[in-house]
Symmetry: D2
Subunit: 401 residues, 4 copies
């Protein structure tokens, strides 16, 4: 289907209706293969119907595959997730699944993980510019009085997003307005950007502000920032568990005091690095679950900001927790319905509307397992050994031929 | 192959030799399916030979699939990458491939992107504890004199990693030592953790330090921190290009002044958020390339820290750049040889030894394209419109049935 | 008055009623002089009546002196400060007064500075601990319902502080509660800590929380943090001015474009340093005014967090602004009534009740002058020359004999 | 001496030779008094010879006074400070001196404080701009080869500063160069800015870089940043002590476990605030000592960044430490020789050349005392009570009449 002109051009071929039917995808892939002198048989062996990719990707040439493992059982006592779960993890990092699994088994044997969602918002932060500081101040003062209008404008663009509140941050003669939305079970960024844009345009139309940019970056979508610690990029979710000293010793080979000692030393390291928040490796678990479950994986940049805590209880046991202030998850929209994602979400009982808070609680509990396992490995000195056993710690052997 | 006991247990079945042959993987998957009452046909349709998954995952049940698109042409003038590339992007975020593509075409039409690697190190940061501050100080003072011994110890564990230097950070009676390695074309974290552990054990054996934890968190592997801005988690790579005003207007619909205005406003937003670094959406491009190319995707948490810059030149054109201080990439080891990853790396001419710096330069140039496209969309006010055209801005419609 | 036992002890002598009368202060100073073999004639030449020091210091031995300079005129168009001011600056850094003065004159010639207070709060952030995450969540959920009780308890301890709102930040099984107060013209920290403590004790007495620590550090009193950017440590105040290009050139020797270029380059430097906020040298001006005017000088650590902005206007002029989110100032309480402080506050028309917002606006306008002068010195390359002329750039000559 | 024209002008009167003689200072003060309708008798009662103010201030009108208290004994076992000290503290915050004093006495009774200087550098960070990324890379690569020339140029401007090393930070087509100097006993900022400027001019003259700005802000002079944690703004100094549980209980009323609990809760608060470093109130002690001893008080903004640590020892005692990575202190130059400053430095045995490291160790030990006292007050719940006893917690009563 690629014509002469397309072969001679350096542009990726364009097709009718953007080219999502199977034949078009094959043609595009062949163009790539011939142009670059490669073959892409595994990319071609795509189980996702190409037509269903519309809205999720452009210029499709097939799909990638990544190994999927399963870890569990993980007992969760949440407000939304109540039961025992097996968590799908897509990764290529050896030892990761095993590490999360041992934490999950330990937590389950300890009676399970308590999890709660504290806040559920997504935020867009346009910046409005004025001619002078006094005008910026008037705008800030007047904004509360326009809230109902802003809400009406914003919600006119969406059947699901609800404008919950707005707050402002002045900077010179500019003002950043945080539009905070409830987005139900969607990640919702596209939804609320559209809604915020309409509200912002209304402010301009009313003569309340001369101009704006729809993004200021303050909302911290897909980036790390201190702002995320106050929530706003999805669910603020916390998971915690009490682990008897005997179980901790049996599963991860350390005492509560040893694990608190790891916490101490690594808090020092995080402070020295001027890190945002403190945790062992949220990014590992989040990435593996996000890839498996069709989440927007780039949101790991914001979702991985959080705080892990370990304390010895008066009884000599361990209380462990994870706090995820800005966990961005969805069970509808984005990639959630696509191919393997839908299967993985179903496996968790989290497919479709009404399940995003449940998914958030399961993820938080999973990360708690990973934190305990990692801290145990550091405290017991077995981290390297574990990676020797399960990992691919021989890059020379792994080089493609 | 799952026996009675395994069916009645809540533990994921264990198999001989950890269970990587196709039959074992199938059995494990069936256990999951029956236990949870789901079917996983697409997870099952796995093109990666299950035996090859050993070292990359545990408890495998199949693979996930994610749509793969192609963006280009992208002309790069690097020290390692010299030519025109088409970049594989795995994502489910509609409009992302199109957005990067238009940036790439514009950059190519503008004469291409200059890219350079400034630093190439990976770091492990164990923390050593002493009884008192004066002992910590003596340790710090003595360390330079032991460098050759530390190097010998560290390098005894690896054929590829080279200990380049060590530096120290005191904290009370503790001392963090940054062991900085050159890891050639591997991500190298497992390699250098093992090497640093041996060096640390040598220090203890010599009586120079009483004890240590192999991780302090300071190295910022898979997390965001200010420390990353000084490099140390892979390549410090910079890419820049001059874009004539006319091309900028044609491709992204803004003037250089407008795009610098976006930079101004979003710098303010990043400062307000207390963000680490400043950029539009590195995480998007990085995630898409990392998933496609078998990188450790969780490294996006560190790799996405960086600084984008836009300046109007005296001639009225735009100079645009991205600075990625801690870009973690590999062309051997990890998931790089696995299934679709190897195909995607070959497509870039980056498979195997000797290609990691090249991959780093291509990635930096790709991100530059994404930054320009994003900033253009903000400056021209067309961001929402673009996502309406290409995205799936209708989460209700996308819910699984 | 120092008896034998006191002479032989290493403890600083204790006196009846804590020792604030002139004779006691003299005795204490003599004890120091004899114990250490020094003479302190200038410390002794103290103009502040020693009795009036009670409540401001313990173990007084006299007073220190620091040179006081005057800078102005500074025209301010604030909501509280309207007029032309001369600002007292106590410093030993040569060139500082001259630098602020030239900025002030330029701003006044340009028509003056617009200043506004956007927010006026002080905050105390106790941390409450619970046995498990679900209890923490219940506490957070219930708190809004107790606001009136909390307010009644808190305000029972003070005639001036008003509890404006509370917000919460969960961390594992702990919850930080930000008690936000209006403190009128006082710095108010002692006042609101007492008030927050009573409210916190009420929560414990009601069985709503088992225990708390009155400080979590989150409020960022006298430290730098990202949290400060959202306000809460005093006044959020912004000052801005338009400076015609000709005036800018005449007074600081640069064009608007040059000064924006300095802004660009130094923003890059701040991002690289992972600084909190962005500014040239707020700390210089703040410290000099705080020392002169009896402010709590340690609050410079929080008050110096802020954002300076420079933009070229469409007409080719400069718009310059400073944003101080957490400017801690007082016109009553603390050291404000003491000796030279009262004189300096009167000089600004800011002594006593009702004047704290006015003082805040004058300070913001002063800092704007300093930022412009500093940026001009960098842009014109004359920074070193200015310090050569006015400074003491010869430490060898300055050594005491 | 103020003539008619000066009376009618709004400019602060100018005098011959900048106006430092007593009569000129008096005239200038009278101009202020008449212009503003105030009297400044205490400002006038200035014990510092006005002529000696030259180089430390411009437009002098007298001096300010601040109460000075004394705290001790403080036993220090440093590499430079060895003995028992009484520390002068200038403040108006009631309870501060008492709080530091009780910490000092406890530390002395516990056997004293061990203190060490780990690093001693000051840094200036000019930013060089190039036309494109490849030129920036060449500059970075070539710089090590020019080190001896840079050193010769830099050191030609100063008899005291020594250029120790340079390192680089790329950002797009710009490069920040950190020039790191040893400045002996001077704060040295003016000295090294001049030196760095000459080195930078040499680079431009050699054609190695087209242009530069002398400041990028990265050096973090007088501001808070993550960069400071790696040192560079003066001394990196650490102080620590072991405090037997019985002494801790006697002096600050808490057990080691309670104080570690405070550490835990306040670390959480600092992480939540995205604070730079972690400490209780370094700014309080630093400010009081800096004002007393003629330091550049604005440097508190950088010097107050650091990390406090508390640990329970195996024997059940407390090990406490403070780490100050960027403590900016001087014993020559600046305000150190001026009036009361020289007296206070002599009182510490720190006046003049050769004493800056000693002063740094005494300051670190003092801050340790303050941290212990503060943490004890939080842990024992007596913080408010202490401020009731010693402070001026009644702003209404303190209002000037």
């Amino acid at each position: 289907m690629v014509d002469e002109e397309q072969w001679s051009s350096d542009l990726v071929p364009r097709f009718r209706a953007q080219g999502y039917d199977a034949e078009q995808v094959r043609s595009r892939r062949e163009w790539v293969e011939r142009k670059l002198g490669v073959t892409l048989p595994l990319v071609a062996s795509c189980g996702i119907p190409t037509d269903s990719m519309r809205g999720n990707i452009e210029n499709p040439i097939g799909s990638i595959q990544m190994p999927l493992g399963i870890a569990g059982p993980l007992q969760v006592h949440g407000a939304h997730a109540n039961g025992t779960y097996y968590v799908p993890l897509a990764t290529t990092e050896g030892a990761l699944v095993r590490s999360y699994e041992r934490g999950m088994v330990m937590l389950t044997r300890a009676g399970g993980v308590v999890a709660r969602v504290f806040l559920d918002e997504n935020v867009v932060s346009p910046i409005f510019s004025f001619d002078a500081v006094d005008q910026a101040e008037r705008f800030v003062s007047s904004l509360p009085g326009h809230f109902e209008s802003l809400r009406a404008e914003a919600e006119a663009t969406t059947g699901h997003g609800k404008l919950v509140r707005v707050d402002t941050r002045p900077a010179g003669r500019s003002v950043i307005v945080n539009f905070r939305f409830y987005t139900a079970d969607a990640q919702g960024m596209n939804m609320i950007v559209k809604a915020a844009e309409r509200a912002a345009q209304w402010l301009v139309a009313q003569g309340l502000a001369p101009r704006f940019h729809i993004f200021s970056g303050m909302c911290s979508e897909k980036r790390a920032s201190g702002f995320l610690l106050s929530g706003g990029k999805g669910k603020t979710v916390v998971a915690g568990a009490r682990i008897p000293a005997a179980l901790l010793s049996m599963y991860v080979g350390v005492t509560p005091t040893q694990i608190v000692r790891v916490w101490h030393d690594t808090v020092i390291g995080h402070l020295q690095a001027n890190a945002v928040g403190y945790n062992g490796h949220y990014a590992n678990g989040l990435t593996a679950i996000f890839i498996a479950c069709g989440q927007d994986v780039a949101n790991v940049a914001n979702a991985s900001v959080g705080i892990t805590d370990f304390e010895v209880t008066p009884e000599g046991d361990l209380y462990a927790s994870v706090t995820l202030p800005s966990l961005t998850v969805a069970t509808i929209g984005g990639g959630t319905a696509l191919g393997t994602s839908a299967e993985c979400l179903k496996l968790l009982g989290c497919a479709g509307a009404g399940h995003a808070p449940k998914l958030a609680e399961i993820i938080a509990a999973s990360l708690l397992a990973g934190e305990l396992s990692m801290a145990g490995a550091i405290g017991s000195g077995e981290f390297v050994a574990a990676h020797e056993t399960y990992g691919r710690n021989r890059p020379e052997a792994a080089a493609p031929r």
